[in-house]
């Protein structure tokens, strides 16, 4: 038994190492002295003498502003996606109406079109609506991409909610909207968290819209700011790695914050009866 436990621990540690290695390597590279950057034998441990790279990332670049902008876009996308997805998800799950199947399919149609194909017409529309160079524009564009996914995820969760619970609420005089908000939504909270993670990551990582719609340096998101270090003639490797490392942290923290709900969401409905 003890033997099994040790093997399991080892396996977990190996998997953890594999998953975390890219992050670790970014950290090591960002802290490796320039002259050792291309050594035939790679540096396996970070060198604290280079820690100033991180301070410089904040003082000599606009990283702080980029992170704030990304956070606004990611949180805005998450909140708006959840708000706009709950009712359609409920309708697709519970209501019967003409064209229901078509509506559900149409929602996924947007997912079949790559961002690159939509970016030109969206740019034109955003110009007319004065949404270019605004974070609100980015939030709206990103939300358009996440709402279908979130809607279908939530629909799956609502399908798993016993209809008897809703009927009991209706007998007690609760309205349809009240049932959704007071009964259904609490029951699918873990799935909501999982959907929020997906929406947040999309908003946090999105590049094409952020690059195309924003030209004001003060409104750049971190994904675009990070790419801006990769130049035609040279790339400051330390800075790229340091900024990249910092850029991944908020997304990791957000995931750690909601991961217990995500796990619950993924296992919800796994066992019935």
């Amino acid at each position: 038994m003890k033997h099994n436990s040790t093997a399991r621990t080892l396996a977990v540690l190996v998997l953890l190492g594999v998953a975390a290695f890219p992050l670790y390597w970014m950290l090591v590279t960002s802290l490796t002295p320039s002259e050792r950057l291309f050594d035939a034998t790679p540096n396996l441990l970070p060198t604290l003498s280079q820690i100033g790279t991180y301070a410089a990332a904040f003082t000599e670049t606009s990283l702080r502003q980029w992170l704030v902008n990304s956070l606004i876009v990611a949180v805005g996308t998450t909140v708006l996606s959840i708000l706009l997805s709950v009712l359609p998800a409920y309708a697709l799950s519970r209501l019967t109406f003409n064209g229901k199947l078509l509506l559900g399919f149409a929602l996924f149609m947007t997912q079949m079109l790559p961002e690159a194909m939509l970016v030109v017409p969206l740019y034109d529309i955003f110009t007319k609506l004065s949404l270019l160079n605004t974070l609100l524009g980015l939030i709206l564009a990103n939300t358009a991409f996440t709402v279908p996914v979130v809607t279908w995820i939530l629909k799956g969760a609502i399908d798993g909610v016993p209809s008897e619970i809703e009927e009991a609420a209706r007998v007690d005089g609760c309205s349809r909207l009240g049932i959704v908000l007071a009964v259904v939504v609490p029951l699918i909270a873990p799935t909501l968290a999982a959907a929020a993670v997906i929406a947040f990551f999309h908003g946090w990582n999105e590049y094409v819209f952020a690059q195309t719609f924003i030209s004001d340096d003060a409104l750049r998101t971190a994904s675009v700011g990070l790419a801006s270090f990769v130049g035609e003639l040279s790339t400051p490797v330390h800075t790229v790695m340091a900024v990249g490392f910092i850029y991944t942290l908020p997304a990791v923290v957000f995931y750690l914050f909601v991961q217990r709900y995500v796990v619950a969401g993924m296992t919800t409905g796994g066992v019935k009866g």
């Binding site: 035939a40 805005g76 873990p190 035609e232 003639l233």
Partner: protein, 426 residues
């Protein structure tokens, strides 16, 4: 199942706060939107996009140069727009397709010709008069069907830069055979003799590197009338030479240009054939490993040339203000300063090097001496088809390098594909 509110106690405040913050800041950012072409101070804003702005060193110097214009103007403000080089052309063309984009754009030559063909940039004959400036020879490429669409923001020649400390005798090779021999000998102890690009991810860069080999062996991509010569003996000789270097084990295979240039200034690469802009960065960054320059070690002197025009977006609403900026940029003092900040590159007009520049960068002489032998890397007469042609040529080159296909076979196929797929298009 926990009640909703308690189950997500940690999330609800975050979401609510996030919503409030997002909407508030989003609304605020709407207010900040550049819906008009006026800045907060009431000046007419001209946006100017150039991939230079993202570069270490040169980017800040170029911004300072632009700021000089702003200081001199009571009514106009030029705002630099930083777009990463890797997505510069895509972003600009996307924005132009959406009826927007920066007012002034520093394009690379292929994109310039594509933009002219698409009528996405304005003729500027009314802004830039031919006789008013002493333009360099590269200016001939700025006109299409008799109309001027821009002027050369920067041009750069190609030559070999080397780190004498890594070469066996400290002297550069004069012939191709000597070059390969020295490159192999310098490849030891984690160092490499040479570096060039050989991946589809850097298609544009591969094209320029290969062009130097092709021109150096006497080839041209096309005849002046646009007749393709992609499978001529000279072009095939250049491709075969590329393959020889690739197979010699003297390059860090798969390394992108930004990385191997960094390796060069860290003293890990002995030789490179690169343009003057790169040479400037190598010298400014790699002070511990001073570089020298020599003509490229090929049988013929001809090498490619980087030519980057500056032009005005057809979607601009501030053409007059943009024109004033371009006129300012062409003044002798501005040209002198621009050439100095760009390093081993030339500008639109003829500007003599100062003694101070030549003393600080003696290798500039090698680059400047290359000017009569520099030829634009685009296939002459087929400039607007360059992106599709580059795609096919680089695909065939990779078959030679990695797939064992004979250079003649690959270039015959390239000629066939380009004729059938690209040149057959109206």
């Amino acid at each position: 199942m926990k009640p909703f509110l308690s189950a997500i106690t940690g999330i609800t405040p975050l979401l609510a706060g996030g919503l409030a913050a997002a909407l508030a800041l989003g609304t605020a950012s709407v207010a900040l939107a550049q819906s008009s072409d006026k800045s907060a101070s009431g000046k007419t804003v001209v946006t100017f996009a150039a991939s230079h702005f993202a570069e270490v060193g040169r980017g800040d110097r170029l911004k300072a140069w632009v700021e000089k214009f702003n200081q001199s103007q009571p009514d106009i403000e030029v705002k630099p727009v930083t777009i990463p080089f890797s997505s510069f052309a895509t972003t600009i063309f996307t924005q132009m397709g959406g009826n927007g984009g920066p007012d002034v754009i520093r394009f690379d030559l292929p994109e310039f010709y594509a933009a002219v063909a698409a009528k996405s940039v304005l003729p500027i004959d009314d802004i830039v008069k031919d006789g008013a400036h002493t333009f360099t020879a590269a200016d001939q490429y700025m006109k299409v069907e008799g109309k001027r669409y821009g002027f050369a923001f920067d041009t750069a020649n190609y030559a070999m830069v080397y780190n004498a400390a890594l070469l066996p005798n400290g002297t550069p090779p004069k012939t191709f055979e000597e070059f390969v021999k020295l490159g192999k000998e310098a490849t030891k102890d984690g160092n490499y003799g040479f570096a060039f690009r050989a991946t589809m991810a850097e298609r544009g860069g591969v094209w320029y590197d290969l062009t130097n080999f092709v021109y150096g062996f006497g080839g041209r991509w096309s005849k002046p009338d646009g007749t393709p010569t992609f499978n001529s003996p000279e072009v095939v000789a250049g491709v075969a030479a590329y393959k020889t270097v690739y197979d010699a084990g003297m390059i860090p295979k798969g390394t992108d240009a930004a990385t191997y240039r960094r390796m060069f200034w860290e003293g890990k690469v002995a030789m490179e054939i690169d343009n003057g802009g790169v040479a400037t960065i190598l010298t400014s960054q790699g002070k511990a490993h001073p570089i020298a320059a020599a003509p490229s070690p090929f049988p013929h002197k001809e090498q490619g040339m980087i030519l980057a025009p500056v032009t005005i977006n057809a979607n601009t609403k501030v053409k007059d203000a943009a024109g004033k900026f371009l006129q300012w940029a062409l003044q002798p003092q501005q040209q002198q300063e621009l050439q100095t900040l760009l390093g081993a590159a030339n500008v639109a007009t003829t500007v003599e090097r100062t003694p101070e520049e030549l003393q600080a960068m003696p290798w500039l002489k090698v680059y400047d001496a290359q000017t009569p032998n520099s030829v634009p890397a685009l296939p002459q007469g087929l400039e607007t088809k360059a992106p599709e042609i580059q795609q096919i040529i680089v695909q065939q080159l990779l078959k030679v390098l990695q797939g064992g296909v004979a250079p003649q076979t690959a270039m015959d196929e390239a000629q066939r594909l380009i004729t059938a797929r690209v040149l057959a298009q109206k």
